[in-house]
Symmetry: C2
Subunit: 335 residues, 2 copies
């Protein structure tokens, strides 16, 4: 790999991307808010705090089982706001479109964005359209930025995580990545794996109402393993997860075996990792399960002070192995 | 032109882009805030109003006389907030990068973004990086979204424009478009035309302090002619401008003659069109001229009720001709 040039790994969500962010973006843009490095920035505006986030979407193909680039662009930004504890309110929509792109497809994407904005109770309030010549982009790229408001006093943060806290995941992992990859490669799995792309804001708002939530994040690029590593690293604590507790659909399990992929590193677009204090966990899981998007919510592990900055998997066989952050690129253009 | 497909004209800032926005984006996303169609959305957040805007930048080449894609991405969003009457506070930075892009160039761009953020007194608080395979994008595309606050009671709006109001432009027109085009085509004009890319927020904040400003907009894609047509159309009033009053550098004038381009349609990235009540105009122009970015500010025309929705140019020869919105594409990837 030539380190003087951008490689696909720089967009993977894993180690290379974190290095790029540290070495170039933080180095130059650096300020207190940015360096918090949450899914959203928390901004003080007068007496009110708001959350602000942005994501560009380059998923390939743009239509996949369970979603499309428009749904993804809305849900992705809604979820980044929601996991920060904010109520998503407004989003922007900026399009970079390749000359020759079908207007009929653009309309399907726009309709999908409206549908999922309505479901998420956010408004698309501003936008931009750029067109580039044929061959200068691949179909369509969409950026959404989002603003949310903090409606209560709860402040989530990695620094509030303590040893003994439990790790909850809101459902099965790997569905989005495998659904997109299957479609891209023309693979057909009998079980018909669908992306889990969906807005989590209502469910997470209800979960926050239970109390005891320390921190939330959606495990997108780099998957559950990368997200847990980020948390362990920044919290300066360890995380132990139990392989047999991690929810996995039969379809994703089978596809990963065939393709030689580890589901712990596969992107999700409708799941949340929630770190919560032990006394609230039972009620939290019950509340999540009442939601259509959280029926398989489960405790998968806990925070410990023993293995600072590391994540360990307790396997079905009873062995323990370190789970590292994603290195290199597993699946480009997954979101 | 095949109207079933996206053409370069759809990104021109002119008629085709407006049709696309109406026919697809407004149709599907439509809500009161979006349909205001300002450079920024004005959002009520509790007791506070904020401005929210987004723009993607695909300028080619990424380095040009007077700026680079990073400076442009910061200034473009700062200016969209500033012309709405807001004080720019926070911006996001989202990168779509082609595999193989030089890290050294990315670092130059990041440093430029920091420099111009500091000059504009905004913070880059959140971001995103996506990498696509070689050939799937052209170097680097940057999206910035921005948040500004309204610090006083002044509410600018096209609907407040009245017949008799004056039209001010803050300086020479066409510099950005010609600078980028010259660099792209390898043309060398002796006068060394530089982009006018610059942050206007301080100058416009001072202008607002004078009072009497009805509406402001930065004439980017589609140029001065397109911006004035948008204003005339939405205000339901006419605008008459005087050719001999319109500030134009000798370099841009010469380049436009050689290239067969009309400077009225060339993009600017550091100019504002200000519509103001007659009694404030003299002081407004003086205040603008005190600023390093407004030394050539001048009244170029006025609003009239005679030619509703139209823009007329009074030529040097004393004739009058209608100036239409840009049709088709003049200069793709100018910003």
């Amino acid at each position: 790999m030539n380190m003087e040039k951008i490689s696909l790994s720089h967009g993977s969500g894993g180690k290379m991307m974190h290095a790029l962010i540290e070495d170039i973006f933080f180095k130059h843009f650096g300020n207190d808010v940015l360096k918090e490095a949450g899914d959203s920035a928390c901004l003080a505006l007068g007496t009110k705090n708001i959350a602000f986030t942005t994501d560009s979407f380059v998923v390939k193909p743009i239509f996949f089982p369970g979603g499309d680039i428009g749904k993804l662009a809305v849900c992705g930004t809604v979820n980044d706001l929601a996991v920060s504890g904010a109520v998503p309110k407004f989003i922007s929509a900026a399009f970079i479109i390749e000359e020759g792109f079908l207007l009929s497809e653009l309309e399907v994407i726009a309709a999908s964005m409206r549908k999922w904005s309505d479901i998420s109770a956010v408004k698309i309030v501003t936008g931009d359209t750029k067109v580039v010549e044929k061959g200068e982009a691949d179909g369509i790229f969409i950026n959404t930025a989002g603003i949310g408001t903090f409606e209560n006093e709860v402040r989530l943060g990695i620094s509030s995580i303590k040893a003994g806290d439990k790790v909850i995941v809101s459902g099965t992992i790997g569905d989005h990545g495998i659904a997109v990859l299957s479609k891209r490669k023309g693979l057909e799995f009998e079980s018909g794996i669908m992306s889990d792309c969906r807005p989590l804001n209502r469910m997470l708002h209800e979960a926050l109402g239970v109390g005891g939530v320390r921190f939330m994040r959606d495990p997108t690029r780099g998957g559950l393993a990368t997200t847990l590593n980020e948390i362990a690293d920044k919290a300066g604590l360890g995380i132990v997860i139990n392989e047999e507790s991690i929810p996995l659909s039969d379809g994703v399990r089978g596809a990963c075996e065939i393709l030689g992929l580890d589901p712990l590193y596969i992107a999700n677009e409708g799941k949340a990792v929630i770190i919560a204090e032990p006394s609230s966990v039972k009620e939290l899981v019950l509340r999540l399960r009442e939601n259509e998007y959280g029926k398989e919510a489960v405790v998968i592990g806990e925070v410990t002070k023993d293995i600072q900055g590391k994540v360990v998997l307790r396997t079905r066989l009873g062995t323990r192995r370190f789970i590292d952050m994603l290195t290199g690129e597993q699946l480009p253009r997954i979101c």
